[in-house]
Structures are given as C-alpha cells and as structure tokens.
C-alpha cells in the first residue's frame, strides 16, 4: 500500500486560493550552482501512475549523478501540439540535455528534429520516437513484454481456454505493440480461443464497462489480457461484481498491480520497470553531457511479476534507488 504522506486537504484548499501567489516561484534551476547540469524530462501526462514512476526515477538518477531535472508535462493529457510547444519553449531555455517520452511516436518527430537543430542531446525513453537523432533509447521491447506475459497466463490456463484482450488507445503504438505481443502468445497455443479484442483506452472505467459487456456476450471467459494495469484492475472489478472468476494479467508493474498480486486478484503484471527508464534515461543524458560513453540502446529486462517475485518492486517509490549504470548498460 502506498503511504500517502500528504499535506492534507486543508493545504490543498489553501493552495487553490494561493495559486496566484506562487505562480512565479518555480525559478529554481537557474539559481542552482554552476556546473550542475540541467536535464529536461518530458512525459506524456500527469494522470497515468506509470509516468510518475518514470519521473521519480529520472529525478533520482539525475540526483545520483549530481544533476538537476525539470519536468515538462502537457496540461492536457497526451496532447501533441502542446508537447510540441513545450519542446520549443525548452529549446529557448537550453537545458544541457533532454530525456524524452513522445506523446505520439510519429507526430513528435518534428519536435525531436527541432531539438537536434538546437544542438541539445536527446535521450529517448519508454516509447521510441520514429525519427530524429537520439543519443540513446532506454526502454524495452513491448511486443516481447506482452508476449511473455501472455504466455505466462496461458500456461497457467493449461494451454486451453477462452480469453479476451483489452487494448489501449486504438491505433497508438503502445497499444499496437502490446496487442500484437498478446496475439503472438495466443497463437502459440492452438487450444486457446480469442473471443474478443476490444479497446479500453488504457482507462480503468472504460475497461470496466467493456468487460461488463463482454461478460454478457460470452458465458465463459477464462483469462483477460489487459494492455495495462489500470485496465486489468477495471476488468477485475467487473469480474468480481459478476462473480465470474478469471485469470487477469496486466502490464507495467504498477504499485497497484503488485498489491493486487499480493491480494491474489491479479495473476501477474508484465513489468519493464518505468523507474529504471527514468533512472537510466537521466543517467545516460548526464553521461552524454559529460562525454562519457552511452550505448545506442539500453533495453531494460522484462519481468513477469507474480506472487513469487514481486518483492523487489514492493517498496515505496520514494525509497527506491537507481541501479548502478553498469547493471543494464554494461561494459
């Protein structure tokens, strides 16, 4: 369970009132000492917990190397023109390097090109951007991630049964990769029937409603393969409400998923640790600035987290430590 060390509601309400007063207070990084590099970190939204993990990892990774981070998140979740604007604004500010998660792998290519033109190094994390020059890509192969997780659940089914797939945002590269990974796993088991593959937009509520409807259509569902943990949790809600047990797997290895694995409601979550994306992304950026070698690609190993191996991930986010650079980026 996450420990919510928060300032409490009163502060929140006070802050609403005082928002205007502190709007100008964010000028921290320029005041920071000379010689400390500033890394601008771009993530897709402030609603998905995965990216909070990435941001925390990046902050930790940079801090470990004695650098500062500045976070940029579109005010509207996953908004393409807005991330483009933020890139333009950041180019003016000239950080030493950028750690970049594109909101869209295709449409953000001109953004990366703009950063290239300004001569600021870019480390691409999590989702690959399909153009421009990058120092390094830190992430994992999402097709493999989904295939391994899918394989895991289908083996637990004994290689036979009826399954459904909950897709992410229709057409997004994340969703496509993950779904094709699931599909690959399903095809490995001839006795497994894929009943349906429907989009839940990576959202819990939509997955819940889609699952409720699927439960009406199909009297027998043995397993649910969800393209992220939020949707897996939504599916579990629907299954529990209908009293129809099924094996559910998700992807991302979020804290919520780990708690659900501990509680036995979620079978497993394919994890490609977002914390390490952030850590190594920031480290790679700082290393590049310091003229230390950085490989073109750092693939974070994939773990299918289940009730046997969740412990390393089950610590509060703020207590997690970045791995040593050499752990994943050897030699």
């Amino acid at each position: 369970m996450i420990d919510f060390k928060r300032k409490g509601l009163a502060v929140a309400i006070l802050a609403t009132v005082g928002m205007a007063g502190c709007a100008g207070g964010g000028d921290e990084s320029d005041a920071a000492g000379e010689g400390r590099e500033t890394i601008a970190v771009f993530t897709k939204n402030q609603t998905n917990p995965f990216f909070e993990v990435v941001r925390t990892g990046a902050a930790r990774g940079a801090a470990d190397m004695g650098a500062d981070v500045v976070q940029y998140i579109p005010t509207r979740p996953d908004n393409i023109p807005e991330q483009m604007s933020q890139i333009e604004d950041v180019v003016v500010r000239r950080p030493d390097a950028i750690v970049f998660t594109p909101v869209d792998t295709q449409a953000m290519v001109p953004g990366v090109e703009q950063v290239n033109a300004a001569g600021i190094p870019v480390v691409n994390i999590t989702d690959p951007v399909l153009g421009g020059d990058i120092v390094s890509f830190v992430g994992c192969d999402e097709v493999t991630l989904a295939r391994d997780t899918g394989r895991y659940v289908l083996e637990r089914l004994g290689g036979a049964g009826n399954v459904v797939i909950l897709e992410g945002v229709g057409g997004s590269v994340n969703s496509n990769n993950r779904v094709s990974g699931f599909m690959a796993a399903v095809e490995e088991f001839p006795d497994v029937t894929l009943l349906a593959s429907q989009p839940g937009n990576f959202q819990r509520l939509q997955a819940l409603q889609v699952m409720e409807n699927l439960l009406q259509t199909y009297p027998e569902i043995d397993a649910v393969l969800a393209a992220n943990d939020s949707m897996a949790m939504g599916a579990i809600e629907a299954l529990e409400a209908a009293n129809r047990p099924a094996l559910v797997v998700g992807l991302n290895g979020t804290q919520e998923a780990i708690d659900a694995i501990k509680a036995g409601t979620l079978l497993a979550s394919g994890d490609c640790d977002g914390f390490n994306h952030g850590c190594l992304g920031a480290m790679a950026a700082v290393r590049h600035v310091r003229n230390l070698p950085v490989p073109d690609e750092i693939l974070i190993p994939i773990t299918v987290v289940d009730e046997t191996n969740y412990q390393p991930l089950d610590i509060p986010l703020e207590e997690r430590m970045c791995p040593a650079w050499e752990t994943f980026a050897g030699e």
Partner: protein, 320 residues
C-alpha cells in the same frame, strides 16, 4: 439630447482604450512579469515561439469570433481540424501535390461548416447541440478512417513549407497575420462583416434591409469550417503527420480566447483585436510558465485563473 455629438481623435482613442477587454491588461502584466523573471523570455526566438504556438489557435478563434458575435457557437472545430488534417496527410501520402491536398482539407472543412450552418439556420437546431453532433461525426470519421493511428509519410513538401521563413519570421506566423488581415477586412470593411454584427445585434433590421439573413448566417459557420480545414495545413506541417485526435478540445480553447477577448454571445458585441489578445494571453502564459519551468499542475490551474481573472476585470469595469 445634449450629448457630446462629435468624437475627436483623442477621444476616440480613449474610447477604444475603455473598450479594451480586461485581458489586455492581464496580457501586459504577464509580458512584464515574464520579461523580468523568465530567462530569455524576451528573446526573439522565444517571442517567435509564442507566435508559432498561437497561430493554429488564432486560425480557429478568428471565425469563432464571428460565430459567437452571431449568437452561435461551434464545438466541432477541433474535430473538423483533426479530420481535415487526416485528409490532408492522406492526400499527400497518396502522392497528390500540396495544393490538391490543401484543397481536399478545405473541402472537408467546408462540408462540415456548411452542415453546421444548415443545421442551425435551416433545420433550426441550437448551435450547441448541432455542433456537438457534428463534433462527434468529424471525430468519429477521423478515428474510423485511421483506426486511431497517425498518418505518416507525407513527404517533404509540407514540412519544408512549414519550416520556411521570410524576413526571419516563420511561415505559420505569416499565415496567422494574413488570416487576421483577411478577417479584419472581412469583418470591418465588407457587407458580410456588417451582416455579422447585424445577425447578432438586430436580425430583424437585416431582414428588413432585404438581406438574405439565413444565407449570411450559414456562411459564418461555413467560414468556421473552412478555417478549421485551413488550420490543418499548419497542424499537419507542425507534426509532420496527420493525427485524428491531435486537435481535440481546441474549440474550447478558441471559445475561451474569444470570450476573454471581450466578445459576447449577445447583441453582436465583440471584435477581432480582442480575440488576438485572448489567444496571445493564453499563449504567453503557457510559454512563460514553461520558460520559468513551473510545475505542470500549476500551469493547468493558472490557465483557469487567467480566464476567470480576465472576465472578472471586465465584469468589474462594466459595473463602474
């Protein structure tokens, strides 16, 4: 009846200043604040950035001004922009030239604009409901056509055009300036413009003047659709791709900019300069906060604060 009958030059200026929307003062305050505290905010590249970032929104906000002055609303603009972008990109991918592709995008925009216009004037639907309906149609159309994916591989012609600049000013700013100029002439120097004022201000007077009110009224919406189609040129050029949901919600930003700029839903009150101020105020705010590296959650709240503060200034000044 002993009112001052003649306005002298100076008095006209003062009258104009007194009519300036509250957002003008907020914009000035923001500029001063960011210039003082934002590193390199006042540099030429950054000011150009604000222009680039505001240009697409301005292309939507200009016709939205006319639509709102005519006591209407167009919620479909963002979705139509998205769909037109898909069409533009797909046409380029299919190997058509840029003019043909732009023509197709404009045609898509026009079709939706005309549909909005007819639904409002002929079928008599409330503009909010009519354009909410076409919003769904355009957005659904874009999603179905692409399966939610980006349309890529549009070739070099549009990106090259978008990246070009003249006299050191980027293409998109020239487009925005030209669009403003065109709309300025249209609203203040043509019969069409007088009709826009009259449709909101005194529709009966227009009808009695023998003008075909419905046609002009529908034309305002058609213009809105057309501009949404045209804005696809900039959006697609900016992303080097077409994306079905890239412009979702932009209509609300445009409406907010227009209202903050002093245009009102009643009596044909409003104008284009205020809309420019409204668009710029939001653009400057977002840019300045990025330059200051203010946390995103605070940026989100600041946008709301700006909108409400601008209206509040108007409301207080309106009372005194």
């Amino acid at each position: 009846m002993s009112r001052a009958a003649v306005l002298e030059g100076g008095a006209r200026w003062r009258a104009a200043a007194s009519r300036a929307p509250g957002v003008a003062y907020l914009l000035a305050a923001l500029l001063v604040f960011f210039a003082l505290f934002g590193p390199r905010f006042a540099s030429a590249p950054n000011l150009l950035n604000i222009g680039i970032q505001s240009s697409i929104l301005l292309l939507l906000a200009l016709p939205m001004t006319l639509i709102i002055m005519a006591e209407g609303l167009d919620l479909s603009m963002g979705a139509v922009l998205g769909l037109a972008g898909i069409v533009l990109a797909s046409a380029l991918v299919a190997g058509y030239g840029l003019p043909a592709a732009l023509g197709a995008a404009l045609a898509v925009g026009l079709v939706f604009g005309v549909a909005n216009g007819l639904l409002v004037t002929r079928v008599g639907l409330p503009p909010f409901a009519a354009t909410l309906g076409t919003l769904g149609a355009a957005q659904g159309g874009a999603l179905v056509a692409t399966g939610g994916q980006s349309v890529v591989g549009i070739g070099p012609s549009l990106p090259a055009l978008y990246a070009s600049s003249w006299l050191g000013i980027p293409f998109s700013i020239w487009v925005a300036v030209a669009a403003y100029g065109a709309f300025h002439v249209l609203l203040y120097h043509t019969r069409f413009g007088a009709c826009v004022f009259a449709i909101g201000g005194n529709r009966d007077a227009l009808a009695l003047a023998g003008v075909r009110v419905h046609a002009y009224h529908a034309a305002i919406y058609a213009l809105g659709g057309l501009m949404a189609g045209f804005a696809a040129l900039l959006l697609t050029g900016r992303m080097n791709a077409g994306h079905p949901t890239a412009a979702i919600g932009m209509e609300f930003d445009a409406i907010a900019a227009v209202i903050v700029g002093g245009t009102r839903f009643e009596r044909g009150y409003g104008g284009l300069p205020g809309t420019v101020l409204g668009v710029l105020a939001v653009g400057v705010l977002k840019n300045g906060l990025n330059v200051l590296a203010v946390p995103s959650s605070l940026q989100v709240a600041s946008i709301g604060l700006l909108l409400i503060a601008a209206l509040l200034v108007d409301s207080i000044r309106g009372r005194s």
